[in-house]
């Protein structure tokens, strides 16, 4: 079973290729890497991801030998390489700028490292030919770097760094200089080459999509520390902090206070719509039905209210009630409708919502959000619900879901395959929801200023401790 899945980091027997042991790097007062400990295994495609200045490049330069750790050890196959100069390490690097030697041909660029090893000529020739074939550069062997295109240069840089068959290949933002389409192609090429050669790759990038695409594991870095190391799906679906959730992909962060949900109690108590005992202003409560909202008395406009507050009420006393006017009791004709449940959609069926987890009170007057996957330890804590836009449904009528939010469409970003809706939900929070454009745009029924319902399951979000 374990054979089919490549996950040496879960195998306690596996011997790591690279070990960082309490590595710290300081430049003067500035701490670039802060007491970092991490194992990287053979054949891994390990991505270091983080914003600029998070220390990822320093970490890579320490592996290449261009920087020495201030404290701690870096082991390669169990040997401390912290103070070995770069030209004596079995580690090669592909530079962000490619750093191709402009006065040498493609062939000589690739042969450069092999010639330094004083290998026999025919052996060098065979290896260079192999590298040219691997990177599909055979036709360009005699060209100079300025005579080939950006994508080809990128492949020359890759071939050159792979030619010496290093144990570890470091890639510093390898695709940053390529345009989007070429970058995507090259990502797959990189994965292919990594698989063919069986080399361990460490890639530094600030592009989270790139990291997720190519890597077997992603390490998210911030201020010289690794915040989370996990496979791309775990990083995305189960981030361990608000920082990671926010850094990777698009996310809605809803802040609130957690309350433990009873593990087995009837869930009705939790999802009961807010009773009408203290009526909120019209249109403010999710559970207020449209029919009642229509019957609210006319509201004064701002000029009228100012006139009233400044001029009329000091003289004549209050004309406008603070409390909204109570509606008259339903007439005989209206009686059957008024007796019906106030929400047009049926409340969520109990069996849809797994018991346990947390409820999050995020806005007064709003129903709590149910997060059945929340850790009950967080009971009473300030928490953040991280909710991916694609996990939210958007509809014009209230859907049957454990969590629903009502709001108004403020903005629509049309991306072709998907659309992102920016919805201002009651309580003033902006929430992004994504929907696949399975229909042609002309038939899309949601548009700007529409009142919509956002819905999500009880396990769609991740509950994180607020920082």
């Amino acid at each position: 079973m374990a054979d089919s899945v490549f996950a040496p980091w879960n195998d306690p027997e596996a011997k790591p290729l690279i070990q960082f042991k309490g590595v710290t790097k300081r430049f003067g007062d500035f701490t670039a890497i802060d007491d970092l400990t991490q194992n990287i295994y053979e054949r891994e495609f390990f991505a270091l991801l983080g914003p600029s200045g998070c220390g990822k490049t320093t970490l890579m330069r320490m592996l290449a030998g261009f920087e020495e750790p201030t404290e701690g050890q870096i082991l390669l196959n169990g040997v401390d390489i912290g103070h070995v100069p770069p030209n004596k390490r079995a580690v090669n690097m592909m530079f962000q700028s490619y750093a191709l030697f402009p006065h040498l041909s493609v062939y000589d660029n690739i042969a450069f490292g092999l010639r330094r090893e004083k290998k026999p000529k025919d052996e060098i020739h065979a290896r260079v030919k192999e590298m040219l074939r691997l990177t599909r550069l055979d036709r360009f062997a005699q060209r100079k770097p300025h005579q080939i295109s950006g994508g080809q240069r990128q492949r020359v840089a890759l071939a050159r760094s792979l030619a010496k068959a290093p144990k570890l290949l470091l890639l510093d933002e390898p695709l940053g200089a390529l345009d989007k389409k070429l970058r995507e192609e090259t990502q797959f090429e990189l994965m292919d080459i990594q698989e063919k050669t069986g080399t361990t790759f460490i890639i530094v990038t600030h592009d989270q999509e790139e990291a997720m695409t190519v890597a077997s594991r992603v390490a998210v870095m911030d201020e010289g520390r690794i915040v989370q190391v996990a496979t791309p799906d775990v990083i995305y679906e189960a981030p361990n902090s608000v920082y990671v959730a926010d850094f990777i992909g698009d996310v809605n962060l809803i802040r609130g206070t957690a309350r433990a949900r009873p593990a087995d109690s009837p869930p009705e108590a939790a999802v009961e719509p807010t009773p009408e005992t203290k009526p909120a202003p019209p249109k403010a409560t999710a559970s207020t039905s449209a029919s009642i909202a229509e019957r609210t008395g006319p509201q004064p406009n701002t000029l009228g209210r100012a006139l009233h507050d400044k001029l009329l009420s000091p003289i004549f006393g209050k004309w406008i009630e603070d409390e909204p006017r109570r509606l008259p009791p339903p007439s005989a004709a209206e009686a059957p409708r008024a007796a019906a449940p106030q929400t047009p959609a049926a409340p969520p069926r109990p069996q849809d919502i797994p018991p346990g987890g947390l409820e999050i009170d995020w806005s007064t007057g709003q129903a709590a959000i149910i997060a059945a996957n929340g850790d009950p330890v967080l009971d009473g804590e300030k928490v953040v619900l991280a909710l991916r836009p694609e996990k939210l449904g958007i509809a014009k009528t209230r859907p049957d879901a454990p969590n629903t939010l009502k709001g108004k469409v403020i903005d629509i970003a049309y991306l072709g395959n998907i659309s992102t809706y920016h919805v201002e939900i009651e309580g003033g929070v902006m929430v992004k929801a994504q929907a696949a454009n399975t229909r042609r745009i002309a038939r899309r029924d949601i548009t700007w200023e529409d009142e919509v319902w956002l819905s999500f399951t009880a396990t769609a979000g991740v509950v994180l401790k607020d920082e």
Partner: protein, 272 residues
């Protein structure tokens, strides 16, 4: 496009006349038949013939070339090393002071440089001759080389050297195999600059020269003090000719290389 107005034409003529009239005059009079420099007596190339017979001038020219060659070569090596350290060595105490001090001789009056070198040579008991002139010229042309080379090095992508190290080259190999070939044009132009500076230096050479080490500028200067002879005009014309040919060749070569490179880059983009 603006029309080419009379005003433009006038200022262009005036400017170029200011620059080149003296030289044209010199070239014209070098073909003068008369011994009197300012009286035109018909076309002749006899002064060129006499120049080639003049042992003193030929000796001085030979000395000058030797001095220029050795001093510019030493200055190029030292200046390149200094530039490399200034750009590459990162921060070290007194770095700003050092880089300032490298450029200081550029603005130092030559009289002072010459005098101080003379005092030094006397102080250490070095007999004045070709060697002292070479040393003196090395001293002042080194900073020109270092300016030229360091401006090239400052735009040199340090990743290239790191890549060479990363691929197993020793620091020395990475300098000789990668850095030097790439900055070679700057090093060569630094050498040429030092060579020309040494060729025409009069002040420092006269301070530091000794018996048997009369350079051409010193020779010309002392000859002129006895009266301008058409021979000197001929000599100067030859020098102007050599310099002109050199400059035009160099600019044509570099322009052709640039055009070639642009064409190749465009071709690379098309085939991509």
């Amino acid at each position: 496009m603006r029309r080419f107005s009379w005003f433009n034409a006038t200022s262009l003529t005036l400017g170029f006349a200011f620059l080149y009239l003296p030289m044209i005059l010199l070239v014209v009079y070098s073909f003068n038949e008369s011994r009197l420099v300012t009286v035109w007596a018909g076309f002749s190339t006899k002064w060129y013939g006499e120049l080639l017979q003049n042992e003193e001038f030929l000796d001085a020219a030979w000395v000058t070339l030797k001095v220029a060659f050795f001093s510019s070569t030493i200055a190029t090596v030292l200046g390149t090393m200094a530039a490399y350290v200034m750009i590459r060595a990162g921060r070290f105490p007194g770095r700003t002071l050092f880089s300032g001090m490298i450029y200081a001789p550029l603005v130092m009056p030559e009289v002072i440089t010459g005098l101080s070198l003379l005092l030094l040579f006397i102080g250490i008991g070095l007999d004045r001759g070709v060697l002292t002139v070479v040393l003196a010229h090395t001293t002042f042309s080194m900073c020109y080389v270092s300016v030229v080379v360091s401006s090239r090095l400052s735009t040199f992508d340090q990743a290239l050297e790191e890549a060479a190290l990363d691929l197993g080259a020793s620091p020395f190999e990475s300098f000789t195999l990668i850095t030097l070939p790439i900055i070679a044009p700057a090093v060569i132009s630094g050498w040429l600059l030092a060579f020309t500076l040494s060729l025409d230096d009069l002040v420092i050479a006269s301070f530091t020269t000794g018996p048997g080490a009369t350079t051409l500028p010193i020779k010309v200067f002392s000859a002129v003090r006895l009266g301008v002879s058409p021979e000197i005009n001929a000599l100067s014309t030859l020098l102007i000719g050599i310099v002109t040919v050199g400059v035009i060749t160099a600019s044509l070569v570099s322009k052709r290389a640039a055009v070639q490179r642009r064409r190749e880059e465009q071709a690379a983009q098309r085939t991509a």
